[in-house]
Symmetry: C2
Subunit: 306 residues, 2 copies
Amino acid sequence: MPDTINPQVIGFGQCCLDILGQTSSYPELDQKAELNSLLVQGGGPVGTALVTLSRLGVPVTMVGAVGDDEFGRQIREGLLNEGVDCTYLAQSSGASSQVAFISVDDDGHRNIFWHRGTASPVVPKSFQAILSNSIRILHLDGLHLEATIAAAEMARSLDVITVLDAGTLRPGMERLLPLIDHLVVSEKFARQTNDDLEVALKQLADYGAQAITITLGKSGSLSRSTDGQTFSQPAFKVDAIDTTGCGDVFHGGYIFGLLQGWPLPQTVRFASACAALKTRALGGRTAIPALQEVENYLRDQTNEST
Amino acid sequence: MPDTINPQVIGFGQCCLDILGQTSSYPELDQKAELNSLLVQGGGPVGTALVTLSRLGVPVTMVGAVGDDEFGRQIREGLLNEGVDCTYLAQSSGASSQVAFISVDDDGHRNIFWHRGTASPVVPKSFQAILSNSIRILHLDGLHLEATIAAAEMARSLDVITVLDAGTLRPGMERLLPLIDHLVVSEKFARQTNDDLEVALKQLADYGAQAITITLGKSGSLSRSTDGQTFSQPAFKVDAIDTTGCGDVFHGGYIFGLLQGWPLPQTVRFASACAALKTRALGGRTAIPALQEVENYLRDQTNEST
């Protein structure tokens, strides 16, 4: 990786509208819960990772699809307000947008009700030209598998680095994994591979990624680098108000580290700090930090531990 | 009540935006559920009762408030599309609209997460003129208590019939109840009064309403008329897809009966049929019947039982 880069990232995948409600406690079956507060905000794995990069100062482009509905309009507006280029965010005629209702209770428990919508991202005809236009990294999630594979194949043919956010191991994903350079997966995904996470790391490494990280929420993360070394990054201690989007923000921070050419432990530590700072407010994006905030936070953490 | 009336109803109270999602099963704490379908539709006790009356052919006016947000725009549009006059539906500057996320599972279980919003209905300066303009009935719910009491007092002074939809017994409601002519309450409200429903009916009657009905879901309803007689109306047997708004639609049907001058048992039977037909589709309003549908349905039920 050269020292001087022109950092640009394309995201290809999900963007969503999150409707977040705070309850005192999650209601039992057949019960009502009055929400103390309500927030409507853009979300989705790739969408929120790109917003993170944008707040960190990286120019980013979203390739995806929304429906021609009110939710789609709000999703696009949310991305544009964050400086995410939406030139290739399609509006699918007659289709519905992805939307999620997220219940967050006073003890930090979170329930997500989500509808994938009928708008699916497709690889645009101009994708090769977009990728070739000084793009360094393609960030993907796995929901719309065939289109994601097509996008990853094109990236590979152009030597564009691929990063995958994988939350659930779905049938057919074994065709996508060999096309990925950096695999950053949920604990659920890893355990679907093997319940022993060290073994899961090794099995996932066999697909060829140069680095694999499993995010473990409060337990931090577990990573394996090209040389087969594994290491843990503890989570930073935070009084979390809302963990929605923590994984997505981790990906944004991770990609930022890749763009800097940092060693994997530094990249993962930076990503972990971004995710920790994110939890300070309700909403997947509200408290995503700017670069200076992350740098200050990491410096303070280092000082405290010395 | 005269035989010939000019049927007009004012509703004063809640209108809401419902976001309904169908799940295979309601998720456990900290779990995700993918929604099989999603529907965004206007709702709320008074709002949906007025829509019912409008579908039955009765001209109606909504007095209430929405926020100056996207949800408020959709609430108003939903009412206007149903022929509900929204001249007195205020848009409160800087306020948020009432919104509900409703999870409906394959077994008919229903969970409601709702946010009351910050837009509150106020009694407009012209309310006396509106009520005097050949309005026969004022329909109320009890959420915004002080404004509701003010509206009911004005109705009483003008000999306008008042109907109250009471779902939860809240502090201070004892000041509202003496202003009500027709009290149609939820089982929850009745049991908050007295767990013996016959006793609850009697205690509620002491506030002076000429008729009281407790809606009991699948168990139908229990009513008490002016002469102290009580009677049950069984629920019509339906394969319910969604019971959201059943109570609201019952109120609309009930008020329709009042406008016709029907005896209470006929009014309650008609209201019950409206609520039964309503359950045929997802959403509080989707399957609200037109008058001809209710009449046909009731005729078929009568034929079957003979």
